[in-house]
Symmetry: C2
DNA sequence: TTTTGGTTATGCAAAAAAAGCATAACGGTG
DNA sequence: CACCGTTATGCTTTTTTTGCATAACCAAAA
């Protein structure tokens, strides 16, 4: 019953799912894929994002299985020990999310801002 | 690697959180509150929504603690065994969500629809 | 005054999910 | 053909979620 928070705000998530409602991927994996693309390594990417390798590896495997195609191409060995790069479809999916957020985010933030004053009137 | 799903779609969630990012409530609790309002009973509401009483009761308690005020007023005993009604602030929060979705949903669905064709081009 | 009945309240056990540790498998390179 | 850094994966531990069981409550009826 003790309210230490100053105010309330609105937030949102957008994601891709199958026609039957099974989650595929959202902002987190989108950022992850971009980091993989930039680093060329799954290990480096998860460390950069603060994720655990074990879980992320499993998540990506599940996503690809649900999609029916690969988002990343992994290889072991070599000078650098191994590497991970995006597939063509992976690249296109990242680009899609880029455009999606460019499209959605500004409008949504504007709408939220308008409603926020009303929201915080309620709690006072 | 077997894709049984026909196509992909976009989905989203909107919710209220504290200034520090602690979740308060989203669509599920919004609907729950409306059902409580309509039935006058927490028990009836959770059954109608397919939720478990135990968890829902705990969730509502947590939400109220985070908000710092009550959303529902509960009483035990009496002819009907007890009842639960929305407080004034609870009513206002429900009304806020009503307006929020009226405002957001149509625009978002339209934007989604435009992008969906692009998305499904990727997977083919 | 006592019983009744349907609701709210909550402890506790069981099941499921997530996190994290440890270690194997790889394979190009020197 | 040994090395090294990465990918791959089993398994244990921890955390979270579910769900069962049962107490507490109290206005009205008996």
């Amino acid at each position: 019953m003790d309210r230490t928070e100053g105010f309330l705000k609105l937030n949102y998530k957008i994601w891709i799912e199958t026609s039957t409602g099974v989650n595929i991927l959202g902002e987190g994996k989108w950022q992850l894929l971009k980091t993989i693309r930039d680093t060329g390594s799954l290990k480096a990417a998860v460390e950069k994002m603060g994720y655990t390798y074990r879980q992320t590896w499993q998540n990506l495997k599940n996503i690809e299985q649900r999609l029916g195609f690969k988002l990343i191409e992994k290889s072991r060995g070599g000078e650098k020990g191994g590497e991970t790069v995006l597939t063509a479809k992976g690249e296109r999916l990242v680009a899609f999310f880029d455009r999606l957020y460019d499209e959605i985010e500004p409008r949504l933030n504007e709408a939220f801002e308008n409603m926020l004053t009303d929201l915080n009137k309620i709690v006072d």
